[in-house]
Symmetry: C2
């Protein structure tokens, strides 16, 4: 197991940070690493917005389910899927940008996620820690207004970064057999495997909370998925130019 594998396997989300700035040189390296990620057909369809303004941070924290660490972290980035730049590229070459296909939505969402994961790994390699903030999609319209996002750009997630001031444990992942299949998809043994996994997760929670919590994985994610997820997203995205054609 080499150092990179070690780093990747020891990932854990960090939400509590030391009151120490992240060095500008490191931030530059982090963004360079983000940009080095693969990109579909070279389109590089993302923009990263670094939020320095503390008032903005406060607003974003409030709009994202009151996640305090958005205010507290030394470095807060918002990763946007960006097709606006490609529209500009079209205009520069007297071409007409074709808007609104779901495929283009996928392209930009995948592109920005690849870049973000590179950023997080680079940061972690420097002793920093961080967490993704999907909560910015709680109020994507207000976030977009704050960030002055044009059409064909949407905020996918935020990322808090800084020097860790907590040591959380890794969360046990699904058994590999359930996530990795060979040649075709089958879920024949999933229920059995999930039951075993549930037991492990339950024991983990019991141990970590001194018996206060004994939830299973399937119950936890089942509760989540039996409720509509951010039902405002469709209208927001449509308004923003992502018409899901």
């Amino acid at each position: 197991m080499n150092d990179v594998v070690n780093l990747l396997k020891s990932h854990k989300s960090v939400r509590k940070f030391k009151a120490v700035s992240v060095e500008e040189e490191k931030i530059k390296e982090i963004i360079e690493c983000a940009q080095s990620a693969s990109t579909s057909s070279y389109i590089q369809a993302y923009t990263i917005i670094r939020i320095n303004n503390m008032e903005k941070r406060r607003s974003i924290a409030n709009l994202s389910g009151n996640q305090k660490y958005i205010e507290e972290c030394p470095l807060f980035l918002i990763f946007c899927a960006d097709l606006n730049r490609l529209k500009i590229a079209c205009e520069m070459n007297n071409k007409v940008f074709v808007e609104g296909y779901v495929e283009t939505f996928i392209l930009s969402t995948v592109d920005v996620t690849l870049a973000a994961q590179n950023a997080l790994i680079a940061a972690e390699s420097m002793g920093l820690g961080g967490v993704y903030i999907g909560g910015i999609r709680n109020n994507p319209d207000k976030i977009s207004e704050l960030l002055k996002l044009p059409t064909n750009v949407y905020p996918v997630f935020g990322m808090c970064l800084g020097y860790p001031d907590e040591d959380t444990g890794n969360k046990l992942r699904l058994p590999m057999e359930i996530v990795l299949k060979t040649d075709y998809y089958t879920s024949d043994d999933d229920v059995e495997m999930l039951k075993e996994y549930d037991e492990q997760i339950k024991n983990y929670y019991i141990k970590r909370t001194n018996g206060q919590r004994a939830d299973t994985w399937t119950n936890q994610v089942g509760s989540l998925m039996s409720n509509p997820q951010r039902p405002h997203m469709k209208d927001f995205l449509k308004e923003q130019g992502f018409k899901m054609k």
Copy 2:
């Protein structure tokens, strides 16, 4: 600049591989790294399908724009966004899975992409190389049939992996100033910066092709984006349970 940053910055897509298998122990490590990536609310909404069957590989290559390296690479993985497992989790807890929100589509697409990027980085750290295959979305219905994907699962991209048998150059990324903004989005200087970037890219192509090709970045991506992108995706996804509600 540490070793990880070095590795991330030196990424290049590899499409030509030595006829050497990837060790099973390494494959296991790669998948473990994939699973260690962040996951939204712990949902782990993806399944990785390893394609060993050579007939299947041939079919997939044909369906993905005749990309020969899908057949030739020692290890070929297909990364699927997977909500089916979460549906099973609902059923195990007598809950009703809510299908079809665009937000859930985002959650699973982001989750699978984070995992995939970890897989690629892990592989690269072991001396392997690889390339993402978005081409599997050329014929997602036939690919899904081949892989026996149930509803609420869709194939996002493939990944070819193996020991590199070519040494391609890195492709120059956009200037950082255009990708990284502070506090809010602005594209005021984008055209100027893109013109400069275009010059650099043009010179790169001229040099690499001995003057045969002199394309600019904006022309290249503009040509792409002035054509509808995979317009079949909407209907395919709808059929597959991703109704973009």
